[in-house]
């Protein structure tokens, strides 16, 4: 007996509408999303580093980190690279289209509470800036709660730099230090060249008074961690967002497991100490 129940299960998405699409690079677009039901939109709250599962009707579902400010209650934003089935379909969609949303998921988020009254070092590689944007926007809302803030961001080339407007704004402020670097510069590039790991030796924050957050492609973590360890940051003070394949987002399908942890429910943000001896973590 199969029943179509009125009771929702963990696999049933809520309907939401894409209210705005902005192309930010040749491969990335920003999507502003609002739940169809006003009450759901009102109740929807998330923490920096959490993700949602997004359904494109007839194509499937995939996990995406939220990039918008948790203080923004009007909509939430995803930054999506055109690279898979669902993301490809999303890139073909127009403003006003409907999608399905489950979430927010992830019990491990960027622990902004612990960062208060400390220096904050943010290290982003490529699309890894997207989930970190949520944190950056959030802590800039209450800038006085934090000591110095430094953002290191490495992109493949100048054209792939995300959030150029925001970065421009940060550069104008004297209470944030921004270090940009690209692997492949073009003729006009006058900034740093190389991977973001190269810039870590320049960090002069005292390790005992600093929290570090890292997000980037899988290959990046090992090298970033090596550099951070040279600087003697405590593993408890370093937070990494670990991407894995996810099918369900709710700790059932097991694809995102890293040893005895699941990226979807235990992460996606882990402290370096938590994963220190977890095989395959970084």
């Amino acid at each position: 007996m199969k029943e179509k129940e009125s009771k929702k299960t963990i696999y049933v998405p809520d309907i939401a509408k894409i209210t705005r699409i902005e192309e930010v690079t040749p491969t990335e677009k920003l999507f502003n999303i609002v739940f169809e039901e006003p009450k759901k939109q009102e109740e929807f709250s998330f923490k920096p580093g959490q993700f949602v599962e997004l359904t494109v009707f007839g194509v499937g579902e995939a996990p995406f980190s939220i990039t918008s400010n948790p203080n923004n209650k009007e909509y939430f934003q995803l930054c999506i690279r055109n690279i898979g089935n669902v993301s490809g379909a999303l890139h073909r969609m127009k403003e006003g289209s409907k999608v399905g949303i489950r979430g927010p998921f992830g019990n491990g988020y960027f622990p902004y509470e612990k960062m208060k009254n400390h220096n904050v070092l943010i290290i982003a590689g490529g699309l890894g800036l997207a989930p970190l944007m949520s944190l950056i926007r959030y802590i800039l809302d209450s800038r006085d709660d934090y000591k110095e803030i430094m953002i290191i961001y490495g992109a493949v080339n100048p054209a792939s730099i995300l959030y150029k407007e925001d970065i421009g704004e940060w550069c104008k402020r004297d209470d944030i230090r921004v270090c940009l670097t690209v692997d492949n510069p073009d003729d006009k590039w006058t900034g740093e060249i190389g991977v973001c790991t190269n810039l870590i030796p320049r960090v002069d924050f005292p390790p005992e008074d600093t929290k570090v957050v890292v997000c980037g492609p899988p290959v990046m973590y090992k090298y970033v961690v090596q550099e951070l360890e040279k600087k003697e940051f405590a593993p408890e003070d370093v937070y990494l967002s670990l991407e894995r394949r996810m099918e369900c987002g709710v700790g059932k399908c097991n694809h995102c497991h890293i040893g005895n942890k699941l990226s979807c429910v235990d992460g996606p943000v882990f402290s370096l100490w938590e994963i220190k001896n977890l095989k395959e973590a970084i």
Binding site: V12, N254, H255, G259
Partner: protein
């Protein structure tokens, strides 16, 4: 737990009553060599002499190989999603201890963190009656501590001389036996004595005894020994058969199917296997476990370490199905011991 005695004379009528009153699933001979759990309509079809079914008895009901979990419908620009949950009452008869222990494991998986109603609604509506078994050459449940089960069933029948020793674990089980069986009495000293002897003898019959406890710590030491893992995984075809027959494997993929009218669709989950290369592949082409050594190593970690940390239990019940099914003759039981040998030598 209540302990009761069912006279042999009443056994057939008890089972027949259950067949009449329930959607009764039990072991039936399929061909000369194999049995399967399927719908039983008469007492004669039931064959409890089975040693092991290829597909675990409960998994195909509680967590079928493909299962619709959501259906959706689009009209113009509106979309509607609806959950699909199945929950008809089923009675599963003749399940062995290892397989009940495996159900108990799956219960934990599907109820931890988030409740999975697709699994749990079926589980809540499943009556389980266990029966005892004879170990086969590939059985090593004793080594995994899964040869005996104390929960997860309603009734458990152990055959003694001219009677059955019945362990009653739930009030539902108690009602069944009171309503459908005649001549029931409480178990006494003599019954317990014979039962204990029977269990003692049963435990002596196992040939495989891998030392799973030693794996837990030694795994850490041997983890980066690439040569060792190459040797272990040398013959693996990455076919995933071990996961398909495993009573505790629960990994699944989710995919969408849409009707040709482009208006209705459904979301389906289907069994996946961590032995298949695509398991760790993400959009963009990065694979977190690109080699078969990576994958077999992680399967052993999942079975013997991960869930000891998480649920304080092995995710392997020692049923030996993967050993019998593997085309490359890979045996988790011998590999457990290879880890120990490699480390102690």
């Amino acid at each position: 737990m209540l302990y009761k005695i069912l006279p042999r004379d009443s056994y057939q009528s008890f089972v027949e009553n259950l067949i009449r009153n329930f959607d009764f699933i039990g072991p039936k001979r399929k061909d000369k060599a194999t049995h399967e759990f399927t719908k039983i309509t008469s007492f004669g079809e039931l064959d409890l002499s089975y040693k092991k079914t290829t597909i675990p008895p409960a998994k195909q009901i509680l967590f079928p190989s493909t299962e619709e979990i959501v259906e959706y419908r689009r009209e113009d620009n509106s979309i509607e999603f609806r959950p699909v949950v199945e929950h008809s009452l089923k009675l599963l008869f003749g399940v062995h201890s290892c397989d009940i222990n495996a159900i108990n494991f799956l219960d934990k998986v599907f109820s931890t963190d988030f409740s999975d109603d697709n699994y749990l609604s079926k589980r809540r509506n499943m009556v389980i009656i266990g029966t005892d078994c004879e170990p086969r050459e590939t059985c090593f449940c004793l080594a995994m501590g899964k040869e005996y089960v104390t929960a997860g069933f309603d009734l458990f029948l152990s055959e003694l001389t001219n009677r059955y020793f019945v362990r009653v674990a739930t009030s539902q089980g108690n009602k069944l036996i009171e309503k459908y069986a005649s001549g029931i009495s409480s178990a006494g000293e003599k019954d317990f004595k014979e039962y204990n002897e029977k269990i003692g003898d049963f435990r002596k019959k196992f040939k495989l005894s891998p030392d799973a406890k030693s794996f837990y710590d030694n795994f850490d030491l041997i983890y980066n020994d690439e040569e060792f893992w190459k040797k272990v995984a040398k013959n693996c075809f990455s076919c995933g058969s071990c996961c398909l027959v495993c009573p505790t494997c629960f990994c699944f993929n989710v995919r969408d199917e849409i009707e040709l009218n482009l208006k209705e669709g459904k979301r389906i989950r289907e069994w996946d296997s961590c032995m298949i290369p695509e398991y760790g592949l993400v959009a963009g082409g990065h694979n977190f476990r690109p080699t078969k050594e990576n994958r077999l190593k992680q399967r052993y970690q999942c079975k013997l370490k991960t869930f000891v940390d998480k649920f304080n239990t092995y995710a392997c019940v020692g049923c030996g199905r993967c050993i019998e099914t593997c085309l490359a003759n890979i045996s988790i039981a011998s590999d457990i011991d290879s880890v120990r040998k490699e480390v102690t030598v």
